[in-house]
């Protein structure tokens, strides 16, 4: 187990450096620089001074090494957009709306998805099953910004039930959460349905019925537990994945979260912020998979007790 963990951590470290290098090079390969924008024109002289102060006149590899050594010491730099703050303090604020909305979206989506998937599997080839299939196909194929627009159109414009955008009061949260929930709901409905059907066809379910257990106990304890194993493993990666989903959802609903910084940091060539966002998502995804794999092994006695047999 410890060897396994060390191996995984080393591979995460490797992934981290490869991603950082690739993103760093791509970022600098994009034409233009942080002070080329038209809204606040600066003279060539001032720009050269600023570039020198930020170390941007150094060769690329020197910049990379100095940036990464800073990161390894926990210093993620200062965003060019708002020099009064650090990248960390900026993201610490921006993180909150994204976490609240994305997190509740994934959790609600997963719960609903599981329920819909179960209903579909238990009433196979009924209208519930067909509806669930249609929902999950729609959820996985329609881009999230289209879903967001539809939600705004229906609930804010036509029905006028909910505010279209903004941040603050809880009723403003409902539509973005719904938008965030679409993908987890669709994914979980599909996963749950196929995992449940798979389990229901296994001989031990007949054996459980033959023992006289109630159908409810068979479904909720035995079938669900057996089907849950693959379902648990997709949860965390999906959770981290909302960080990139936030680019669209938060833009549509005008929420001051992480999503806007993804876009603005690229537009403004705000290198420290851009790097920080990409690297944090990278680390998040890597650890999400690691934890999922450990959870999978722990839930499955065949793997957990592998050294006993």
């Amino acid at each position: 187990m410890i060897v396994y963990l060390i191996k995984r951590l080393l591979s995460i470290a490797l992934t981290f450096f490869i991603v950082s290098l690739v993103v760093f090079l791509m970022m600098h390969a994009v034409p233009g620089g942080p002070f080329d924008g038209n809204d606040m024109p600066v003279s060539a002289e001032v720009r050269a001074k600023l570039m020198a102060r930020l170390g941007l006149d150094q060769p690329l590899w020197v910049q990379y090494v100095s940036y990464m050594s800073g990161v390894l010491q926990g210093n993620w730099g200062v965003p060019y957009q708002s020099p009064g703050e650090t990248v960390i303090s900026l993201l610490r604020q921006a993180w909150i709306p994204s976490l609240i909305l994305g997190g509740s979206g994934v959790i609600i989506g997963a719960i609903l998805g599981i329920l819909i998937g179960m209903a579909a599997a238990l009433k196979r080839n009924s209208w519930i099953d067909y509806l669930a299939s249609a929902l999950s196909v729609l959820g996985l194929t329609i881009p999230v910004f289209v879903i967001s627009m539809m939600l705004i159109l229906i609930f804010a414009v036509w029905l006028g039930w909910l505010p279209a955008s903004g941040w603050g009061k809880p009723e403003r949260w409902i539509l973005p959460i719904a938008a965030y929930a679409a993908i987890p709901l669709a994914t979980y409905a599909r996963y749950t349905r196929s995992a449940m059907l798979d389990t229901l066809n296994r001989p031990f379910v007949t054996a459980l019925r033959a023992k006289g257990l109630s159908e409810r106990r068979i479904i909720f304890q035995h079938v669900l537990r057996n089907s849950a194993i693959p379902m648990v493993t997709v949860f965390l990666p999906m959770f981290i994945g909302t960080a990139t989903g936030s680019i669209f959802v938060e833009a549509m609903f005008r929420i001051p979260g992480l999503g806007s910084y993804f876009v603005s940091s690229i537009e403004n060539r705000d290198y420290p912020l851009e790097m920080a966002l990409v690297l944090m998502v990278t680390i998040g995804i890597c650890f999400a998979y690691l934890i999922s794999d450990i959870a999978y092994a722990w839930l499955n006695p065949r793997i957990r007790l592998g050294d006993d047999t």
Binding site: A207, G212, E215, N226, P301
Partner: protein, 589 residues
């Protein structure tokens, strides 16, 4: 009042093409404490009948019956709650494959306790204690540990015992056993059958034994129902059925069961020529990874330990042993389908053990193999004529037209119609597929044929046909065959020599007659003792050997007793006790 009363039961399944009738009017009744066997081949409707009685069939089944009662309850009318309450308590079931009949993510103890709690409303603690008692009752010695085990941590035999214990937990009035020993080894089968019989008598419950094996019936029940094609063919006391079968189907079932008892005529000893196949000191070691807390350690697992085996020309050698004894591994190594760790393989006087893929190719023609599972051994995307002709393609023999013609000829030779050539494997029955596999193996006219349990997945009557076909072809073509099997009755009727393997070693080897008449090694004796009787009057109580008993009972000889060149050695060795009869024994001075 009868415990089980089935009258005019009909079951059909809705499928894509329409309705499929599985049971077409079956009458069965069972009194308290009675034991009934339902025998028939797969598709005869025997399992479906019992699943209908428990109302455990899928939604696609439609059931009609004049009467379908289980301990006085009308199964067709009872509501779900009522049905759940009689399942497990009025009638309990055990299944064919215990490995898939337990939920893999809960412990044995949890699954036993939950059954007890459901029906008897006891606390978890009391239920666990009771589960432990039950495990002891089915002769599981370390019952307390087993409660905490997950299903994958137990062997098939142990799991089936636990399944039985679980079935008994609510004192059912009838135990329905659906092929309870088909997935188990012969020796384990005999133990499980004896256990079921003993518990039935002790607890005074009724028994329904569903099986395709008349030997199992002869061992366990009082009354027999013979089913075929969804109907009852014959019914009667077990002795009457065996002594005086009325229906032709029953007669053919019995004939195939007893085929094993008639002895082959021993041919005269042949002149010394190079044997068709010779294995010298063949061994296979697998590295097993054990995940430790910090480091993984590797342990060696010897699947096969230094096997010597000679397959004379024109002879059939039977290789027997339980699963895990290394018999299939040996067969696959002999065909160079699996690389041996050490040892030599000599085919027809040529050492093929070190030949590379290209150099081996011409020799492949003379060594062919038939596998146990005919379905997975045939490419589902190819027609039968393509499948049978493929070896000719590989060895570039003849024109395309000639190959197809030859393949069609072989279809007829193995007893199928020529126009089957355009069909696909899934359109055939198991027996027909095995015929195709035989044709494919023999079209190259090999010298050596390895048949790895070719009949163990087949029904009894089909099995007899396939054995007959192999025997005929062997004589016609002068084949030398290594016949791997755990089915001793087949081995007895087919082979000239029997080699018994146990834990990767050859423990006894003798002419077939000698091994059945005079087995020397304790494991061989245990194996022979476990064969189900072919006559219900010959039932007997058996004692079973543990590994320690077998080690203890290994024959001991002093050098002077043995002919030839035996030398005293501390570890067991193969010694000749009669001409051609070798047994593993400890030799001392």
């Amino acid at each position: 009042m009868s415990l089980v009363e089935i009258k005019g039961l009909k079951v059909s399944f809705r499928q894509h093409g329409g309705e499929v009738e599985a049971v077409r009017g079956v009458d069965i009744s069972l009194r308290d404490g009675e034991s009934l066997g339902i025998v028939g081949e797969s598709g005869s409707g025997k399992s479906v009948t019992c699943l209908a009685l428990m109302r455990l069939l899928a939604n696609t089944a439609s059931i009609t019956a004049d009467k379908l009662e289980l301990s006085g309850i009308d199964v067709l009318k009872a509501n779900n709650r009522k049905m759940a309450s009689i399942r497990g308590s009025s009638a309990a079931m055990i299944f064919q494959d215990p490995a898939t009949a337990f939920d893999p993510v809960f412990t044995i103890g949890h699954q036993m306790a939950e059954t007890i709690q459901t029906h008897r409303g006891l606390s978890k603690k009391v239920a666990m204690a009771e589960a432990e008692q039950l495990l002891l009752k089915v002769e599981i010695k370390n019952a307390k540990d087993v409660l905490g085990y997950y299903p994958h941590q137990l062997s098939g035999g142990m799991l089936q015992r636990a399944m039985i214990a679980m079935a008994l937990s609510c004192r059912p009035k009838v135990l329905i056993a659906d092929e309870p020993t088909t997935a188990l080894d012969v020796t384990i089968q005999a133990q499980i059958l004896q256990l079921i019989k003993g518990l039935q008598a002790e607890m005074g419950m009724a028994l329904i034994m569903i099986t395709h094996d008349l030997g199992v019936i002869a061992e366990t029940v009082d009354r027999v129902v013979v089913m075929y094609g969804g109907r009852v063919m014959e019914e009667g006391l077990v002795e009457d059925i065996f002594d005086n079968p009325k229906h032709s189907y029953t007669q053919s079932l019995l004939a195939s069961l007893r085929a094993g008892e008639t002895r082959r005529i021993e041919p005269v000893a042949s002149e010394p020529v190079a044997p068709a196949l010779e294995l010298k000191n063949l061994a296979k070691v697998y590295k097993l990874k054990r995940r430790g807390r910090i480091f993984s350690t590797y342990t060696d697992f010897s699947a096969v330990r230094g096997v010597h085996l000679v397959l004379p020309r024109n002879k059939i050698v039977g290789l027997v042993g339980e699963s895990g004894s290394g018999k299939s591994t040996t067969g696959m190594m002999a065909m160079r389908l699996l690389e041996p760790t050490t040892g030599r393989i000599v085919v027809d006087g040529t050492d093929v053990s070190d030949l590379g893929i290209e150099a081996l190719k011409p020799y492949r023609k003379s060594m062919q193999v038939i596998f146990q599972d005919s379905y997975s051994a045939l490419d589902p995307m190819m027609t039968l004529s393509q499948i049978i002709a493929e070896p000719l393609d590989i060895h570039q023999m003849g024109t395309s037209r000639e190959r197809t013609e030859k393949a069609l000829g072989w279809l007829e030779r193995v007893g199928l119609d020529r126009n089957f050539g355009t069909r696909y494997p899934h359109e055939l029955s198991g027996g027909q597929r095995q015929r195709v596999a035989i044709a494919r193996a023999l079209i190259l006219e090999p010298k050596v044929l390895v048949a790895d349990e070719p009949t163990s997945a087949l029904d009894v009557t089909v099995k007899a046909q396939i054995i007959g076909l192999l025997k005929d072809l062997q004589t016609q073509m002068g084949l030398s065959m290594l016949f791997i099997s755990h089915d001793l009755s087949v081995v007895r009727s087919l082979t000239d020599t029997v080699v018994v393997m146990y834990k990767g070693r050859v423990v006894e080897q003798a002419p077939t007659g000698a091994i059945f008449a005079n087995p020397r090694h304790p494991y061989t004796r245990a194996l022979l003792d476990a064969i189900p009787v072919t006559n219900p009057r010959h039932r007997r109580h058996r004692t079973f050997l543990q590994q320690a008993d077998i080690d203890k009972a290994t024959p001991h000889y002093v050098v002077a007793e043995l002919p030839g060149h035996a030398q005293a050695r501390p570890e067991p060795q193969l010694v000749a006790v009669a001409p051609g009869h070798l047994v593993e024994a400890v030799v001392t001075r």
